[in-house]
Amino acid sequence: MLPMISAINPTVKAIAVLIPGILLGLTFDVFTPLVYLLFIISVTFLLSDLSFKRWIKFFVPFFLFIASFSWARLLYTSETFQDGSVLFSFWAFEVTTGGLLVAVSLALRSLCFIALSLLFIMTTDSTKFMLSLMQQLRLSPKITYGVLAGYRFLPTFKHELEVLRQAHRVRGVGRAKGIRGRIRQFKRYSIPLLANSIRKAERVANAMESKGFTGEHDRTHYHQMTVTKRDWRFLGMMVGALFLAFVASYYFGYLNIFGYQVN
């Protein structure tokens, strides 16, 4: 029985998403990232209860953004990939089949990155991720709880911004005009907001120390994060599938590592 993604240890899950993300950088053919993309999407929907609607809402905006990068790659392909016949001309640009293939390959690679990321962020609880980084990767408890405290403060920033705006209005400071005004406005908002968060950091640190927080690793945890066999199975599956994609790509004669056609 394969595990549900949301139950996988967050650190192991992050590693399972990172390793393929790094290795995908090697490929410049179309086949490998396409196979892997199909794999990620199937895993996402078979092993989690994510709704397709929510997933696609994140996925589509990135589609457009990747299209822009691919367009640039199409027009300014480096000479390594400038082989094949000319497909069409656009202004002074000539697009070759080689250029088209590498643009599609890189677009698919980026889609893989995004699918992997969505797989991670949509199935992971942020607090548990931090706790797991502390318990599995021995991230310092001082940093862990510092980040969690800072994270907790995020919603209050919006309120503080509103207070600042009202304070300015009461004192008759209107909207800024011109570039100089804009710069002054930037200073009026950014410096007090940052100063406030620095004050908060100091207060939180004092509170932590006064309650006996030492920052040692030798402590008990309310949420005990563990790594079990099924976490390793998940890691093996994510990385193994990429290797299978590489092997299949090699077998069918598509594999291209950094512009160098293997076999």
Binding site: F62, S68, Y76, S140, G150, F157, I191, S197
Partner: protein, 201 residues
């Protein structure tokens, strides 16, 4: 690495990481806009390069305020992790980019053994961060497939953006913060205090 740090310095580092993670995410939107505007000319990827310095700024601010080994690296790394927590679609990949960028900035301070925080060192940190992060993106984002001149223009734009935003704006923000007095307990605030005492004497 953080053994000789005070707890309040670590918490400050963490909170700076969190605050700038939000700013980084907002900058992402601006970058998308620029990319969109430049796309018709086929130079969309340049859009990000103009404002790239924003994504490095917390390294300078943290290192310049706290002045301890690791401040530049850890703050950038935290900003990367927190962006993932908030839900950046760039996902855990971002943590690697953040680590690479943090190392770039940290290496400049390592050269001066974490003793020198003058403007020239901050600019060195900005240049190194730009170059090292570019090398990473050259691999991960496939810049390899662009024509050489476009890669060159992107690199130069990133270096300039990094000097202006990361080094100069970062220093300016930190100095303004020190003037408010909230940094009294940290290295930069103490330096400002000393300067003021000397002026008064």
């Amino acid at each position: 690495m953080t053994k000789q740090w005070k707890l309040k310095e670590i918490v400050l580092l963490s909170i700076l990481g969190v605050v700038f993670a939000v700013i980084y995410l907002l900058a992402f939107g601006i970058g998308q806009g620029l990319v969109g505007a430049l796309t018709p000319f086929g130079i969309g990827p340049l859009g990000y390069e103009f404002i790239y310095g924003i994504w490095f700024i917390v390294s300078i601010i943290a290192a310049y305020i706290i002045r301890k080994p690791g401040a530049a690296f850890i703050s950038e790394l935290i900003a990367g992790v927190v962006q993932v927590l908030i839900g950046s679609p760039a996902g855990p990949q971002l943590i690697i980019s953040a680590a690479v960028q943090g190392l770039g900035a940290e290496s400049a301070f390592a050269v001066t053994k974490w003793q020198d925080y003058r403007k020239r060192v901050l600019i060195l940190a900005a240049v190194l961060t730009a170059i090292i992060s570019f090398a990473w993106h050259f691999y991960s984002s496939g810049f390899f497939a662009y024509e050489a001149w476009l890669v060159g223009v992107m690199l130069i734009t990133r270096i300039i953006s990094s000097i202006l935003i990361m080094a100069l704006l970062g220093k300016w923000i930190s100095d303004q913060l020190a003037k408010t007095g909230v940094l009294r307990g940290y290295a930069l605030g103490k330096e400002h205090q000393q300067n003021r005492d000397q002026d008064a004497a």
